[in-house]
Amino acid sequence: METMEVTDSKQAGFVVMRLVGTINAPQAPELQAKLMAQVDSGEHRMVIDFTELKYVSSAGLRVFLHVARSLHRAQGKLGMASLQEYVYDVFHLAGFAELFEFFPSVAEAITALQ
């Protein structure tokens, strides 16, 4: 059974959302709820840490799309950091690569988006 964990921390004015595990259709609603909770509570500078995310499906992609759109509207910033090759592939093949900003690590994302 696949599982997903989402933890948050603050670094240099950004909220860093660390994802662990896999995101398939069953996990997508929970992911969206947790990310949007941060956005709704005023965290408009977000970096998502994909280091330990093994897999994302198209249902998960939609969640990131939604978060990106919300942050864009709030004049916020979103960085996608440290994606594994396979996960980046999913974004790439869906053509979503151009919709997000990707970085090799959380630190670089924060620096670039300041």
Partner: protein, 548 residues
């Protein structure tokens, strides 16, 4: 369950009142009786004492000293004493007064009153007559020197006696006694008891009556309320008018909790009726939607390509498609048509999300794609760009659709294709090689406008087939929420490369279903497979004839 629980409220209260009344009455009666009895007894004892002492007054203190034997007192003197004692006895309303002394082992009378009869006949107790059967109380009085009372019954009736020990001046002990018939005590006591009982019963009845009145006053509205609500329920919360009126009456006349209840019931009834009406409407509406969804699905399924092979007379290709929607209305679609004699147009699409919104977008997308093709646009990239512009307008909900669009020239095997965010299709080469067409990934339709979709080109050799699918295949989940993955699909493809397209599709679908097992289908499953056989023999230009 306890039978008392089955009584109505009024009956329960009445039972309680009854028990309380009965207990109080019994307690009162008993107490009354005892008190009276005690008083009577005390009275009698007092009388006995006084009567006994009167012997001393009559006989004098020295009388008993003189009693040595039967001849110590002369019969006349004795008789005089008897008469006086008799008067005394009568005065005090006692049976007898008398006195005794001990003479040796016996107890003898020293004087006594007598009845009229005895006086007349002369059978009164004589001087020094022995007392035939002295009771223990009497004996004790002599030995202990204390007053004793005694109740006894003989052939004449029931009596109470007192024995008072005194000392004569010479030191001799004598006992004064009085007997009183207690028969009248019994009578009096019985009368007393009846009287008490009478009072008690009256109290009981009065309390009970008042109680009953009060209970009726309280329990009648409760009973009515209970009856009305039962009727309310019986009539499915549409109360008949008399019940309605009755409830309103209770609410108006009773200003207590019962009245509040009645008001609440009236309010609840009203609310319930509205609620039931709303539910009926909602249910009817939902049923309409559901039946429309069912009809919608049937319509949708009927316009999706059903018959395979679709172009039986066309030998240039073997095409098979399969779609299994997850919900009533699907977001996946595929379509193909021969736009002209030589060109096969093929589209496979997947709308994000499921249900009604997805299927609406699906229909829109299909229609747009077909329209573009009919307007003569032949470049897949261009078609997608234009459709994207249309869909991206007013796309607040961020719905998007992935599309793979291909045009095959059946004369040459040239395949032009564009991919808007869709899973990269596979090219299965005749010699068994499975290749994923990964270049040219573009964004799904509906997200970014304007957007340039690139067209890719390749040449299919006879025997090559390409295999398009949606993520419902690769992301199908089993009960452990593990997914099928592209790797498993590639395995099936590798094995079935040589098979007819229908069989290949069937194999893939079977593999997915076996993997999924009992888990519910989470997304639409769509597969289209096309094998290029080569140009039709009929179409080959007759070169010899042209050159003559």
């Amino acid at each position: 369950m306890n039978p008392i629980a089955y009584l109505k409220i009024g009956q329960k209260i009445l039972l309680l009142i009854f028990l309380v009344s009965a207990l109080s009455t019994c307690a009162y009666t008993l107490r009354s009786y005892r008190t009276e009895r005690q008083l009577i007894r005390d009275g009698i004892d007092r009388t006995l004492l006084v009567a006994a002492y009167s012997v001393d007054q009559v006989a004098g203190k020295r009388w008993h000293e003189r009693a040595r034997d039967a001849h110590s007192i002369a019969p006349d003197e004795y008789l005089g004493c008897v008469r006086q004692l008799t008067e005394a006895a009568n005065r005090y309303h006692v049976q007898y007064v008398y006195a005794m002394v001990e003479a040796g082992p016996q107890i003898v009378f020293t004087c006594s009153s007598a009845t009229e009869e005895e006086l007349r006949v002369g059978t009164y107790d004589h001087y020094f007559q022995p007392y035939p059967s002295a009771s223990d109380a009497l004996k004790k009085t002599f030995t202990e020197g204390t007053v004793h009372f005694e109740d006894y019954t003989d052939k004449y009736g029931e009596f109470r006696s007192v024995f008072v020990p005194l000392i004569a001046p010479g030191g001799r002990r004598y006992v004064l006694a009085a007997d009183i018939s207690t028969h009248f005590i019994q009578q009096r006591l019985q009368a007393m008891l009846l009287f008490s009982l009478g009072i008690g019963s009256t109290i009981f009845v009065v309390i009970f009556l008042f109680g009953w009145l009060l209970v009726s006053m309280i329990s009648r509205p409760i009973h009515q309320l209970s009856e009305f609500t039962r009727q309310l329920v019986h009539h499915g919360f549409q109360a008949p008018p008399d019940v309605d009126r009755g409830l309103k009456l209770i609410a108006a006349t009773c200003r207590d909790e019962v009245g509040n209840l009645a008001e609440s019931f009236i309010f609840m009834e009203h609310e319930l009726q509205e609620h039931i009406a709303t539910i009926k409407e909602t249910t009817a509406a939902r049923e309409r939607i559901e039946s429309e969804l069912r009809v919608g699905r049937e319509i949708q399924m009927s316009v999706l390509p059903q018959d395979f092979p679709p172009f039986p007379r066309r030998q240039e290709f073997d095409l098979h498609g399969h779609i299994e929607p997850a919900k009533e209305m699907s977001g996946d679609f595929f379509d193909y048509y021969m736009i002209d004699e030589h060109h096969l147009y093929l589209t496979v699409g997947d709308v994000s999300g499921k249900g009604v919104p997805a299927s609406l977008l699906m229909v829109t997308c299909r229609t747009l794609l077909e329209t573009m093709a009919n307007e003569g646009i032949t470049d897949p990239g261009e078609i997608l760009s234009r459709v994207n512009t249309e869909i991206a307008r007013k796309n607040e909900a961020l719905l998007f659709v992935t599309v793979f669009y291909a045009v095959l020239d059946v004369r040459t095997g040239e395949l032009k294709y564009a991919n808007a965010g869709h899973n990269p299709p596979y090219m299965l080469h005749g010699e068994g090689r499975v290749e994923e067409l990964r270049e040219n990934p573009s964004l799904a339709l509906g997200l970014k406008d304007p957007y340039h979709y690139r067209t890719g080109t390749l040449i299919m050799q006879p025997g090559d087939c390409f295999f398009v699918y949606t993520d419902g295949v690769t992301e199908a989940q089993d009960t452990q929420l593990d997914i099928f993955t592209a790797a498993r699909m590639e395995q099936v493809l590798a094995k079935g490369v040589q098979a007819p397209m229908k069989e290949l599709v069937v194999q893939v679908v079977a593999a997915v279903k076996e993997f999924v097992g009992d888990a519910p289908q989470s997304d639409d499953i769509t597969i289209v497979a096309v094998r290029y056989r080569g140009p039709a023999l009929v179409d080959r230009p007759v070169a010899a004839a042209a050159t003559g």
